[in-house]
Structure formats: structure tokens, C-alpha cells
Assembly symmetry: C2
Homo-oligomer: 293 residues x 2
């Protein structure tokens, strides 16, 4: 008791400090918690109201993709008069192009037959004609034909994919999928004559060494990828649009890409294998994807 | 002192409780803080290492876009053997397609001349052939030809754009841009025969009413938009890829789109105006966008 009596002032002081600390701590914690909640918990409605475009508003210099940036606006404007077709020709061309594109399917059974390198150059060059926010052209297409590198890519992707499958799918589903030859085994990564790894440049480096934000870089590169798919289909080549999970950083390092580049997609490219198959599925009819006002 | 002596046991107990509480609290706080930091503070390098694909990993059922979802995996596979061209033909086709796509430019001076509705249907139908995560086809193309609705869209977009310009650009820059006819005035929104508003479906509704996540919906819709741009160019029509800032929710309500749809892009479509001009800029050469390994 005596000891306690002596200690009392000490205890009292300690208690005051502790309580004071407690009183401050929660606010602190509170704010952090809210931020955490705000940024992690994304109810659908909020997500809709808090439109991405709003978040970008403060960053973006213009909603239009002017195919030019601030300095380039100083560029003179030149007349633009592309070929003009008659109504009949337009109709015919648009029908034919639809028919061609509608034959495209994601194909995973790719033939090892070689494909002329010049054709690959042309389709990549075509992808590079896409529009981009402020004409930043924030894309890098890494075309891999080296057998050893292709194999290393396969090892990286399969290791991650196996984890994805095993962790998130039950034995049964995994077996079902493997019977359908849809599993973490990506034979095509070794087999396809070319692997096209599409990197988005999340920012640019200015001459003065400063970083330049590439607005809408993911959307820009994805649009460019759509044009690439059209070019491949037009050339009679097949691919499957894949977004390897967790592999971005490893593949970036393997391919020696700079820190401002992030892997967006990986497309194996080649002719379809003679025994290639695709799931027998349909696309939505026009009236389910188009609304006329 | 006596009073304190009496209170001592109480104080001691209180102190123990408080300290115990303190010992638990931090862990709790800690985790929350880390989450908050992870998700809000995004230095370039971290952003690269903490690849988006990793964030998606837990959600995504397969890195590959199998053009089919879990149920559809039950679909039988069918043989796939598209047309195959000779090397010469492939080369020729890839060259011609590049030349055609390379003529595409973002055009803001659009002619009011009518465009056959069927051509628009065909290009939208073509856009609908794009691949999508788990074949969700998460896109809605709203084609607006109604003069009054087009004008209301213009009012909404210009109001927001004017704020964007005035808030973020100095008088001088605004004047410079307006001399170049690049400002918040979007005449083409009234003039173009068609406005195509592309919405991404951020989630789907299952028959049982439950929400179904549409993985990679923004990338999928952007790829589809790339195919749309190719189809428009192929038909001899022009557009400018725009991402109206802050207008998403207002335009969604104006067009009576459901809450799961978010505006991704707005494309005015038509023939170029006879006096159409474009900034005289160049595209990166092939060796700046392609790396061969």
C-alpha cells in the first residue's frame, strides 16, 4: 500500500499521458479508417456517381483527344480530306468489314508455323495509328520470337496461373476446365511463333528529365490493341487476348522494360493450329448492344 | 494523498485496462493505415510493382479472355479454321490495312450531311465483335441522331468543358486555343449526324437479380472502341475520340441508361466538313513503338 502510495503520483501522471494519447489517437485512426473505407469499399452506385471522368477532370487538359498536346497545338492545321465513298460503297465496305471481324475468335491452339516477320511489323505499325490522350502514343509492343525468352515467359505465367487456379477453383472445376484444355498450362506461349507483350507507358520522361503524366494511357493502349486485333484478323492470323495475372513486374524485368512501362496484355500470335477449336458461343445481337435515340 | 491512496487500486486497474486497450488498438490501426496508404499513395515505382493485374488477381477467374464464362465453358468446342492467305496475300493485306488506318485522324470539323443509318448499324455491329473478359460483352452503344437530344448533350458537355478550360488554363492559352478553334465550344455535337456514346457496363444483372462483376470492363470496351474506329475509317467516316469530363452521370440520366452503365467515350460521327483541318503532327516511327526480342 505504501509502495502504491508512493507510486500514485507516477501512476496518475502515466494515466493522464495515456488518456491524453488515447484521446488523440482515435481521431487519427478515424480519418485513416475513413480513407481506407472510401478507397477500398466501392458500392456500385457510388462508383457510378463518382465517375472516373470526374476524378480525371482535375488532371485532364481536354476531354477531346486532339491528337496533339499543348506545344503541338502550336502546329499549323492542315486541310484533311480523306477518300469519300458513295453510299453503296460505304454500305458494302461496312458489311464486308463486319463479316471479316465477326469471324474473329479468341484462339488458344496456335500453329508453330513461322509467320513472315514483315506482316507482324505491319500489324504493330497499324496498332500505332490509334488515337491517344494528347497524342502521347503511350504504348510499347514487345514482339518476342526468341525460343528461350518465350519459354521463360511461359514459366513465369504458368507459375502464377497455377496459383490462380489452385487458390480460387475447387479440384472439380480445375479438372473440368483441364478436360476442356482450359487451365494454367499455356502451351501456346512456347508454340506461337510470336508473343506480343503490350506495355502501357504510365508516364513519359520530358527532355528535362521530369515526369509527364500520360492521361488515359490504359484506355489509349486498349484502343490501340483493338486496332491490332483488327489488323491481325485482316491478315488471317489469330490470337487470344490475355492479361497475365501478377506477372507484370516479372515480365517487365525479364524484357528489360523501364519502370514507367506496365504490362497490359499478352497476345500469342500465329496461324491457328490445324485442330484448333473454340467454344461454340454466340455474340449478342445488334439490338442488345445498340440503342438508337 | 489519502484520497489518492484510496483511489490507487482503481487507478492501477484503470491503467491496466487502458494499457491493454492501447496494446490492441495499434495493430488494428496499423492495418487500416497500411490499406489507406497502399490505396491512396501511389508513387510511380510502387504503382509499377503493385501492378493492377495483381489487384485484379483475386477477382479474375482466368488471365485469358476465353470468350466464354464459367457456365459457357460447358459449351462444346467446335473446330475453328478461318480463311488462310498466302504469305504474299497476307503481306499485301497487312500493308493495305496499315495504309488505310494510317490515314485516320481525329477530326472535329464534321459535315452535317446525312450518313446512311445502315452503315452506322454495321460499324456498331463490328465493334460488338470484340473480345471481353469472360465474354461479358459489357458495352452499350447509344447512337443519337435526334436533334434536340444532341443539343442537350452539347449543353451538358460545353458547360462542363468551359469550367475545365476556365479553371485550368490562363486567359492567354484559352485565346490561343480558341484561335485554333480548340476550346470548350463543341459545335460538332449539334452538327454531326450521329453522336455515339459508349457506355461500359460496370456489372451485369444475373437472372436471380444478383450483380455479376464485369472484369476488365473498361479495357474490354476500349478494345471494342478501337475496332469501332477501324470500322469507321474503313467506311470513310470520321470522328474524334472524346472523354467528356464530369458529364458521365448527367449524360447517363439524359439517355436513361441504367446505374450499371458508365459513360466511357463520346464519338461524333459523320463525313469530314469540306473545310476540315487537323494539326500537322506526325506519329512515332515503328522502331519507337516496337521492340523485337
Amino acid at each position: 500500500m505504501a509502495l502504491l502510495s508512493i507510486l500514485t503520483p507516477v501512476l496518475a501522471v502515466l494515466l493522464c499521458l495515456v488518456i491524453g494519447f488515447m484521446l488523440l489517437k482515435p481521431r487519427d485512426t478515424g480519418s485513416k479508417t475513413t480513407t481506407a473505407v472510401k478507397s477500398n469499399f466501392r458500392p456500385w452506385v457510388d462508383q457510378d456517381l463518382q465517375d472516373n471522368t470526374e476524378i480525371r477532370a482535375r488532371e485532364e487538359d481536354d476531354g477531346d483527344w486532339v491528337d496533339s498536346n499543348e506545344e503541338e497545338e502550336a502546329l499549323p492545321h492542315i486541310p484533311y480530306s480523306p477518300v469519300r465513298y458513295s453510299d453503296e460503297t460505304m454500305l458494302e465496305r461496312s458489311k464486308t468489314f463486319y463479316a471479316l471481324m465477326n469471324q474473329r475468335r479468341s484462339v488458344r491452339f496456335i500453329s508453330p508455323e513461322p509467320v513472315p516477320r514483315e506482316v507482324i511489323d505491319n500489324v504493330i505499325h497499324t496498332a500505332g495509328t490509334g488515337p491517344s490522350g494528347a497524342h502521347t502514343e503511350p504504348w510499347t509492343f514487345v514482339v518476342v520470337s526468341d525460343t528461350e525468352i518465350k519459354h521463360q515467359i511461359r514459366l513465369i505465367v504458368e507459375e502464377e496461373e497455377e496459383m490462380n487456379y489452385r487458390q480460387r477453383m475447387g479440384e472439380k472445376w480445375v479438372n473440368d476446365l483441364s478436360r476442356l484444355r482450359t487451365n494454367w498450362i499455356k502451351e501456346y506461349l512456347d508454340v506461337a511463333p510470336y508473343l506480343v507483350l503490350i506495355f502501357k507507358q504510365t508516364y513519359g520522361i520530358l527532355p528535362n528529365g521530369k515526369k509527364k503524366t500520360h492521361y488515359y494511357n490504359e484506355i489509349s493502349v486498349s484502343i490501340s490493341c483493338g486496332i491490332l486485333l483488327a489488323a491481325l484478323q485482316n491478315a488471317g492470323l489469330v490470337t487470344v487476348t490475355s492479361t497475365p495475372l501478377n506477372c507484370g513486374p516479372q515480365l517487365r524485368l525479364l524484357l528489360k522494360r523501364p519502370a514507367n512501362e506496365k504490362l497490359l496484355m499478352l497476345l500469342p500470335v500465329g496461324y491457328p493450329a490445324s485442330d484448333a477449336t473454340v467454344p461454340d458461343l454466340k455474340r449478342k445481337p445488334l439490338d442488345e448492344i445498340m440503342v438508337h435515340v
